[in-house]
Symmetry: C2
């Protein structure tokens, strides 16, 4: 029997972008944002900080992001039961390809290159599950979508929400128990 | 109504890899292969020329490939009726990402980055049609697969075959007429 597939996003699901944006904001505006100041939005939507988003185009931006806690152990466990694909909307950022590829090699060496996808519009993906922080990606998905909590999506109510990897694993352990 | 999607491979479908392998073979072995010598196999399967395949890892390999005739006009016409995605198994070759991206920008500037996919195992793709030179990719595909003729696949009989872009367009004009 073919194993079910899980499509897992990178940024804000296994790679933490927030600390870098907080650093960039602080460098530019001389102020460390507190959680209540950025919670509910993208950091580059604050005070016209939209030019901060341009740094996503810089070589190296995605190279040194921290790993989201427990995502490595979680994915390794999921791979015992599912075909796991890392599916990231890298195409907007030409300079991100090698950084993201290398980052996966370092932090997720157990993920085969066959299971990595750089895409744009995620409606092209076929899987049974998708874990993503963008509701728009879950909306065009035909399987079961899990919305991974990120500061910009806290008001979304349309999808099953997972706040951290412990909750991701609880969801799939329940699925497997059925 | 959502438009149907066509997933179109790059190498040997819109980008011609064969001339470069013929050059490499000639450089190495001092002999220009004739069509009857390589037809029916991959060039790097001839006379132990397997090390030629290593050149796929070189920066620049994919940068200057010729465009397959009529693929540009064909894709532009298909885009009037379908959502076209370029889906290439780039993941095996880290050094190919930027080359392939730039090549598409130059030769297919009308294809949005949202419609480009770098992947490995193509079973992750969801589309109504796939045009690919590898039968293995069509075998795991749930839509209608078209096998684009390449020297290594001439003995395949499992899929609808298209020998050139004129035949691709004839197929889709018939689909649209139904």
């Amino acid at each position: 029997m073919m194993r079910k597939r899980i499509a897992i996003d990178m940024d804000e699901v296994i790679a933490d972008v927030t600390p870098k944006f907080l650093d960039l904001y602080e460098d530019r505006y001389g102020k460390r944002l507190k959680r209540e100041e950025y919670w509910g939005k993208k950091i580059y939507q604050i005070n016209g900080a939209v030019e901060l988003r341009e740094t996503l185009q810089d070589k190296g931006f995605f190279a040194d992001l921290p790993v989201i806690p427990e995502s490595q152990e979680g994915i390794r466990e999921l791979m015992e039961h599912y075909d796991v694909f890392i599916t990231t909307a890298a195409m907007e950022f030409r300079s991100s390809f090698e950084d993201k590829y290398d980052w996966l090699k370092v932090h997720f060496p157990f993920i085969h290159w066959k299971n990595i996808v750089f895409c744009g519009d995620k409606s092209i993906l076929r899987a049974e599950y998708m874990i993503d922080d963008h509701a728009k990606n879950l909306r065009t998905f035909q399987g079961k979508g899990l919305l991974y909590t990120a500061t910009h999506n806290i008001h979304e109510t349309e999808f099953t929400r997972v706040n951290n990897w412990a909750e991701v694993m609880a969801f799939f352990r329940k699925e497997l128990a059925v």
